[in-house]
């Protein structure tokens, strides 16, 4: 299920220098300019991969993100060694990204509406999902239920993390068990698929949002190129398994260019969240109850925003 992708050069993710060559049009782009366009090529519209941190900054109301559980750290439960030992891979990824694993979760506001969000980081071992990533997705979902605020997950992953063996496989069940509870609680869930969203991440939470959004040209697929080629030997067209393909096949609601992503999510939240003032717009969900998170968030924002100080559950549980 975790698949080898047709990786673009790793430096695209975290370009170390001033210039980046666009894989879409081969134009050389000045990095500072590229940051201003949210790392979308102004020439051809190619969407570069971006870090979880950059993604969060692009999406949420300025300064509103309060990270939770940044201290969750993977372990090498299997003593896994391939060409490198898993701990060495982890440490290299941690040093490169400043993250302990391939996802960040926390509470934030978008258009002044509170949300619970989890964002994956492809720069950390291909955004692969081991126990920590699964745990963060699960906790983001549980916080959404507890606070009755929408859940937003931005996926960017090569799939399950092989080095954690079947523990990684079990993250599909762990995350889906929480997503089912999110749905049962009538808590909105928006899934955003970015390049790439593949393997076990596509085969769990990423595929089943109330609304599934995707960035243009994002590669989204379950079976990898090698797996397909090795087992089946099919020739696939170049547009195969890109975002547009999935919209025509019924699995993506909307393709949203990065420049419009924040606004579009805010618009969707405006529909998915019933107005809190009591006018008789329509009958409320039978399970709805008062939200306390907005107050909690306001409190958190007046602190220094360090997630460690907010590890406990905000609000009334």
């Amino acid at each position: 299920m975790p698949v080898r992708l047709p990786f673009r050069p790793r430096r695209d993710t975290y370009p170390p220098d001033l210039w980046t060559k666009c894989p879409g049009c081969a134009e050389m782009l000045f990095n500072k300019q590229l940051d201003k366009t949210l790392r979308v090529c102004p020439n051809c519209g190619h969407h570069f991969r971006i870090s979880a941190k950059a993604r969060i900054e692009q999406l949420v109301d300025g300064g509103s993100f309060v990270e939770r559980d940044a201290d969750l750290t993977p372990v090498d439960a299997l003593g896994f060694v391939d060409l490198k030992a898993y701990p060495d891979r982890l440490m290299a990824a941690q040093l490169a990204t400043g993250l302990r694993d391939a996802a960040m979760w926390g509470l934030a506001a978008m258009g002044s509406k509170p949300i619970s969000m989890c964002v994956m980081d492809f720069g950390f071992i291909g955004g692969s999902m081991g126990s920590v990533v699964g745990e963060k997705v699960a906790r983001a979902g549980e916080a959404a239920i507890a606070e009755r605020i929408p859940l937003l997950i931005v996926s960017s992953s090569g799939g399950a993390r092989m080095q954690e063996g079947t523990y990684s496989l079990m993250q599909l069940a762990k995350t889906m068990s929480v997503v089912e509870r999110v749905k049962a609680a009538r808590v909105p869930f928006i899934s955003v698929m970015t390049d790439p969203t593949t393997g076990g991440v596509f085969a769990s939470f990423a595929a089943v949002g109330d609304v599934n959004l995707a960035e243009p040209n994002a590669l989204i697929r379950f079976a990898g190129d090698r797996v397909s080629a090795g087992t089946i030997g099919e020739e696939l067209p170049p547009e195969y398994a890109l975002a547009e393909f999935w919209m025509s096949h019924g699995f993506v609601d909307r393709i949203v260019p990065r420049a419009k992503l924040r606004d579009e999510i805010i618009t969707l939240l405006g529909f998915l969240v019933a107005p809190s003032n009591g006018h008789a717009e329509s009958a409320p969900s039978p399970t709805s109850r008062p939200r306390s998170f907005l107050n909690a968030l306001t409190g958190a924002l007046s602190s220094d925003g360090n997630g460690d100080q907010n590890r406990g559950e905000a609000g009334n549980g």
Binding site: V3, S131, V132, M162, M176, R181, A203, F222, V227, D308
Partner: protein, 325 residues
Amino acid sequence: MVDRLLGRHGSDQGHTDDPVSAVWAHVQEARNLKRPHTLELLKAMADEFVELHGDRVFGDDSAIVTGFARISGRRVVVLGFQKGQDTEENIRRNFGLPHPEGYRKAMRIMDLAERYAMPVLTFVDVQGAFPGAAAEERGIAEAIASSIGMMTRLRTPIVVVITGEGGSGGALGLAVGDTIVALENSIYSVISPEGCATILWRSGEHSHEAAVAMKVTAGEQQEMGIVDIVIPEPGEGAHTDPAETARRIREVVLERFDALGRVPLDELVEARFRKFRVMGPYIVADRPVAPPERTGIADRLRGLLSSRPSMPGMKRDVPPGREEV
């Protein structure tokens, strides 16, 4: 645990005197085409079986069989992967590689199980979902995700029996349950050893090492807390005595259904949720990794090394955590 495998298979396999070969022999046994599949096991275990067909959306997937069975007088919904017995049947059953329709059929029948109060028994033996375009574009990912999700909340007991290969999300799509049983020679893995080797070793030739590294054997999976019960196989493996294999499975399954049937449904579903909610170990570090811009490597290493293990995800034997993490 490799020694245990050696002891069992040393006599009839070559090159089992080294751990890697022993594990590979286990993988080959798990894949032995002569092992009994869902329908063969059912024939031996059940007094009656009525197969049900179709996902009510697109098609009927012969790689997954579903239906009602009566086992020792008990009504049971059965879902299972089905490989063929010969070439013709293998072609008809797509070599046991399911399309989305298989999981959607399974979900439809699971809904009947819940509504009419039948426990669910699944037999898992699949290399993985069909990796071709037809499965991909009809949403194999969505189908697996939805089936996994449904099983985490289904309000009826579920017993999963891994009989051969438990391969990746394709297997997990029918492998969420209250009790996970595995035949001794079965395997369970996040990706096939060949796929793992291709990606991590950059060569399929290292599949033997990948199988070892991923701890794919039933015994190892039990030690990891993924599998609850390992059923010893008769003779030289399940294929040498399918009837006895079926008898042993039936005994365990009936005991499990008896026990699970005594648990109130709310508690049962909550316990199943907890079982999967806590899967997978991690630790909580003392402080977050500092951003790379601000701290030197030495500081960061110190931060990482000072992590304290807590592993809330481990239910039983905690695997040996590597201290350098």
